[in-house]
């Protein structure tokens, strides 16, 4: 044992010092490098940027060194040398020097003294003005008078000086241009030389700049004041908002669709995390910054999922450019009716709609065998149905049917009827001609989904119910979208007969119908209805007050991950998205659960003991993978918390009118019948043409312009041949889907040419806002009347709410930037006509003569009030007595001048050409059209009533 004094701790100290030193070094390294990975990214970005510039420079050098380019360059160089030599010649030099001397002398002897004097004068003036102000307060008026005189004198002097300077400068310019002439060739060739090498030099310059002025490595940070958030993403993603991409690789890449996302949402105001989430403040590792760390509540949204944030600020009703996924998801939720079971904020706002039909009359509506089969798998009867599969067995289906039967009212369905072929044919004719095909189809699934597919409807529906339904759908289902087609009873019977004939032998007959009245079975059915919450989508007698049975989804995107019951599938599902535990990436884990739920809603019960009443209840919607991914974007975006008011993109004014209008248009499927827009052709040479394609063949298409086109040098109305190879892209018109069926009928059966048959399709609504008066449109939408006697297809009565009709009328006005709802129509005021009469005595009488002239003869085709034209009603034209309240005066004039420009193909001819009808109404075609318009806006009563001497024409049967 050594004594204490003899012990040595050197070894220990050395070791500890060493550890301390190492620790210090590590701490230093960690502080400078380890915790600052962005430094490396930034440095790498600048390297890439430099490399990129260098590559461009190298390419430019290579291009410059090409033999051809070199030859050109050398040729110019020689020319330049020659020009220089020419300039160096003594004779030229002598002349040049002489002028140069003159110029210098001018500068020195004239210009300089004048400029100096001018400056002195200006200074003096400033002093004088100062003195004037001072005198005002300190001295008498005498001094002020004096200084005012002084100012005026100086002012005068400076004007004179300015004139002199101007003269001298003119002289100088002359001399200078003399000098330039000598050097002209040199300047020209120098410039030309530069143009050959400028590319190269520019790149060189950029390169040098990037090298020498490389920014210091630093944290780039955006402070979003209102949100009190700091966003440092751009410390690594340096190139995200640059004009040019230097690499496709992250984090160096440019933002995709930068024009939509970044240009509309500048990072200095929105940062990155507002859309992408993540932990934008973190700088110590990419994983941390992306929020892909344990317990971070909002991991980063990558790719399409970023669209989930659109609804934080934007109205859900608006279709956004760049928000395609979330828009699809919103539409899908509305279509599937998710909010029938799950309360979701912002959905289910339209009280004039329903998800599934009311079942209060089910027993008089359908065949019980059909209902039993339907409940066991709706999609096997109709694959396009929105009704999901509740996976019920036959017993369950029978029980539910029994309950519904005993809780519905209505009439006793009659005996099954058979109809003769003629009746069915007649029904088919009406079905095809009045417009049912706009929403429904009588053949197996053809993609039309607005109304139910009717290919097997005969197996489902009772004839008598159908007749009554067709006569007035809202009587049976007050919230149905199905409009009233104003059928009379006879027609309704024909159509119902046709529909009941549509069968495919799909149904098996029930062995017994006793269960329908059995109370015990019904009791079991009631439990099932309660369990599955059928009343969420359907109105069921006695269950009107029940609430939705599903979990609220309004903030599902923020719901805690431990609240999701993975059952026994946790590992499997998490592994599927590359996670070990759900905390690693809460967002991905949540999406994994939702994905599994939507794919197979009840799979979480697998392998677990659950009492029957605790088992999962959500039905299977048969969604495709894409649909599920789309829905996940929306579900991710439904989160708690609101952004400050200033971030909210309010939907206002014209935009609001258009968005709301489009919604109503979609709701009632207006585009099933009406064409709303026209074709737009984008040609390769940049010309954009608006009109309609009339004919397409292998090499060309024939395009009728609907608007004058300067680029093509053609007028509206003209049809032109355009080679397919000249076309860059085309966007097709929207709507009017029923047209092809109608055209087909008139071609096949009546032997018309297709173009002619178009007359029988529903009117095109392109430009409708310019055509009709707002109040009239509102009334018409509420209560349509037949306007076009030749049409078989008819505008149904939608029984829309006043709000819906207003929204639609406003939509058409907003589309054409027309006034709504009030518009001043001068033509109908007394003063207007008085003035016209003063200008042209007998104005309206002359217009009437024009109207009645045998060569215009409006009444030959047009109905006016009580007076109908000769011939069959199908050949008549619209009632002119309606024009006053229906049409806009300007539109009438344009229409009369050339109807084909507004509605190509219309049977209304053009009448007013230069120089015609001068004996009846002297004036230009414009004046004649205006006069007729004024007459139509003021049709005298006697023109609308059958007069004794005119009523000779026989009444047709």
């Amino acid at each position: 044992m050594k004594k204490e004094e003899e012990k040595s701790y050197v070894g220990l100290y050395i070791i500890l010092s060493f550890i301390l030193a190492v620790t210090n070094v590590w701490a230093l390294w960690n502080e400078i490098v380890g915790k600052r990975p962005w430094k490396e990214y930034q440095a790498r970005y600048y390297d890439l940027e430099y490399d990129n510039a260098k590559k461009k420079y190298d390419d430019a050098v290579l291009a410059f060194e090409q033999q051809d380019e070199q030859d050109l360059y050398k040729a110019v160089e020689q020319k330049l040398d020659k020009a220089k030599n020419e300039f160096e010649k003594p004779k030229i030099q002598l002349k040049y020097k002489k002028i140069l001397d003159e110029l210098r002398a001018l500068d020195k002897n004239e210009l300089a003294p004048l400029t100096f004097e001018s400056i002195v004068t200006r200074n003096k003036m400033m002093e004088a003005e100062y003195q004037y102000g001072k005198h005002k307060y300190l001295h008498g008026t005498r001094n002020r008078e004096e200084s005012k005189r002084n100012i005026l004198e100086l002012d005068d002097k400076s004007k004179k000086l300015a004139e002199k300077i101007k003269l001298v400068e003119e002289k100088r310019v002359e001399l200078q241009s003399g000098l330039d002439r000598f050097k002209g060739a040199i300047t020209k060739y120098t410039k030309e030389l530069e143009s050959h090498s400028s590319n190269m030099l520019n790149y060189k310059e950029t390169m040098v700049k990037l090298e020498s002025r490389r920014p210091q490595l630093q944290v780039y940070q955006v402070h979003l004041e209102e949100l009190n958030e700091v966003d440092r993403c751009m410390s690594c993603h340096v190139g995200i908002d640059k004009k040019e991409s230097v690499s496709e690789e992250q984090p160096y890449a440019l933002h995709p669709r930068k024009d939509v996302y970044l240009d509309n949402h500048p990072p200095e105001r929105f940062g990155c995390a507002l859309c992408h989430e993540g932990q934008a403040r973190a700088t110590t590792s990419p994983k941390k910054a992306h929020g892909e760390v344990e317990y971070w509540l909002e991991p980063m949204h990558k790719g399409k999922v970023a669209q989930s944030s659109c609804v934080k600020c934007h109205d859900r009703g608006e279709e956004l450019v760049g928000g395609e996924e979330i828009w699809k998801a919103i539409k899908l939720v509305e279509e599937l009716g998710c909010y029938g079971c799950h309360p979701i904020e912002g959905f289910d706002k339209d009280k004039n709609s329903m998800i599934g039909p009311d079942l209060v009359e089910i027993s008089s509506k359908v065949n019980p065998a059909w209902l039993v089969s339907w409940l066991q798998g709706p999609k096997s009867f109709r694959s396009s149905t929105r009704m999901p599969d509740f996976k019920l067995n036959e017993d369950d289906a029978i029980a539910i049917t029994s309950y519904l039967w005993q809780n519905s009212e209505g009439f006793e369905p009659g005996e099954l009827e058979e109809f003769d072929e003629e009746t069915v044919e007649e029904g088919a004719f009406i079905f095809e001609s009045i417009g049912c095909l706009a929403c429904h189809s009588d053949v197996e699934e053809d993609g039309k989904i607005h109304g139910p597919n009717l290919a097997r409807i005969g197996e489902k529906m009772n004839y008598e119910y159908l007749v009554s339904w067709l006569l007035e759908p809202k009587n049976h289902q007050p919230r149905t979208k199905m409009p009233d087609l104003r059928l009379d009873e006879e027609d309704a019977k024909y159509v119902a007969a046709f529909l009941t004939s549509l069968k495919s032998g799909y149904l098996e007959v029930l062995s017994s119908e006793e269960f329908l009245t059995d109370e015990k079975t019904a009791g079991r059915g009631k439990d099932l209805v309660n369990r599955y919450g059928c009343f969420g989508c359907h109105k069921i007698q006695g269950m009107e007050e029940k609430t939705k049975i599903g979990v609220e989804l309004s903030e599902i995107g923020s719901k805690h991950i431990h609240l999701f019951d993975f059952g026994l599938l946790e590992k499997e599902l998490l592994h599927g998205v590359g996670l070990e535990s759900s905390h690693e990436n809460i967002g991905e884990a949540r999406r994994a659960w939702l994905r599994a739920k939507l794919t197979d809603p009840r799979q979480f019960d697998e392998g677990r003991y659950k009492r029957p009443e605790d088992k999962l209840r959500m039905p299977d919607f048969n969604l495709t993978k894409d649909e599920i991914e789309t829905l996940l974007v929306l579900l991710t975006g439904m989160r708690e918390g609101d952004l400050p008011e200033s971030y909210i993109a309010k939907l206002e004014g014209e935009k609001r009118s258009l968005v709301e209008g489009k919604r109503v248009i979609d709701k009632f499927n207006c585009m099933g019948c009406h064409q709303f827009s026209i074709d737009t052709l984008h040609l390769k040479d940049g010309v954009v043409a608006k009109g309609m394609v009339k004919l397409e063949d292998e090499e060309n298409l024939y395009f009728q312009l609907w608007e004058d086109n300067e680029g093509l040098g053609r007028k509206a109305g003209e049809t032109m041949q355009i080679a397919n190879e000249d076309i860059k892209s085309m966007s097709r018109s929207e709507g009017g889907d029923i047209g092809e069926f109608i055209i087909d009928y008139h071609v096949e059966v009546e032997g018309r040419v297709a173009e002619e048959a178009k007359v029988f399709t529903p009117p095109v609504l392109y430009g409708e806002g310019k055509k009709v008066q707002g109040p009239w449109l509102f009334d018409f939408l509420e209560e349509p009347v037949a306007l076009r006697p030749w049409l078989d297809v008819r505008m149904p009565t939608f029984k829309m709410t006043e709000d819906e009709a207003t929204v639609l009328a406003r939509y058409f006005a907003a589309l054409e930037k027309e006034e709504y709802p009030y518009e001043y129509i001068a033509e109908t005021k007394e003063k207007y006509l008085e003035e016209k009469e003063k200008e042209k005595p007998g104005y309206l009488t002359m217009a009437e003569h024009l109207f009645k002239s045998k060569n215009v003869n409006c009444a030959s085709c047009h109905v006016r009030g009580d007076i109908t034209p000769e011939g069959e009603p199908a050949d008549w034209a619209p009632d002119l007595s309606k024009a006053r309240d229906r049409l806009k005066p300007d539109w009438i004039v344009n229409w009369l001048l050339d109807p084909q420009l507004i509605q190509p193909g219309t049977k209304m001819p053009k009448f007013f050409r230069e120089g015609v009808f001068q004996d009846i109404f002297p004036g230009t075609p414009d004046e004649q059209a205006v006069a007729l318009k004024d007459l139509l806006m003021n049709l005298p009563d006697e023109m609308l009533k059958q007069q004794a001497d005119e009523s000779e024409s026989e009444e047709e049967e």
Binding site: E718, E756, K854, N857, C861, E870, P904, K907
Partner: protein
Amino acid sequence: MKKFAGRYNIICFLAIAMLSLVLFFGNSRNILAAYEGGAVSNGGTITGTVKIAGDAPEAKTLKVDKDQATCGHDDIPSEALIVSGDSAIKNAVVSITKISKGKKFEGGTTTIDQKGCVFIPHVSMVPPGSTIELLNSDDIMHNLHSWSMKNTAFNEGVTGHGKLPKTFEFPETIKITCDVHKWMTSWLIVQENPYYAITGADGKFKLEGVPAGTYTVQAWQESLGKTTQEVTVSAGGEAKADFELEEKSKKKRKRKRK
């Protein structure tokens, strides 16, 4: 020698100028490049008859339900399908569908009249690019409505005893109607080449001056549609081609009378 070279140059220049002109027009308007007319020596002939297959349908009449003072009180015989006793079809159009070179294209219909509320002639023919006078010999207004697809469509009122000149650029078959008097129909065929014939009441046709070769010959009739056959013509020879057109079975959907 020098003189010859000079002339040679001019010829060369002219040839190139002509060629570029042809190319220019050819590119700007495909239709002009489609047919080239010139002299045909020792051309052949195609003759034949157009008949209807099966029984001749009953002749139809059109009801005059308007302007009877001018149009007459009686029904007008329909010209949509006129069949003679031996099944021959009137107003069928027989033509060679694709021929790029042949005799000069001259003539064609110069006027279509509306007289007594009937179009005269019922079927007419013009070369592309020609102008035709559309007349109205009646004392009432008629409108002329062309249901064309390639040529700019028009619909204009024509005053009594007035006229309307119209030019047709592209070859196509155009239906022209008067919408005021719905029974009035006429057909204008803007024909690509001069090899066409409109059959008379005997259904006979004759295509003359056809360069030797094999062609697709088409017979078309407004109510019966068209049919084609291959015909080979020898130099100076006469080829026979008879056509039979079949009545299409129409979808039956009657309209209920109320």
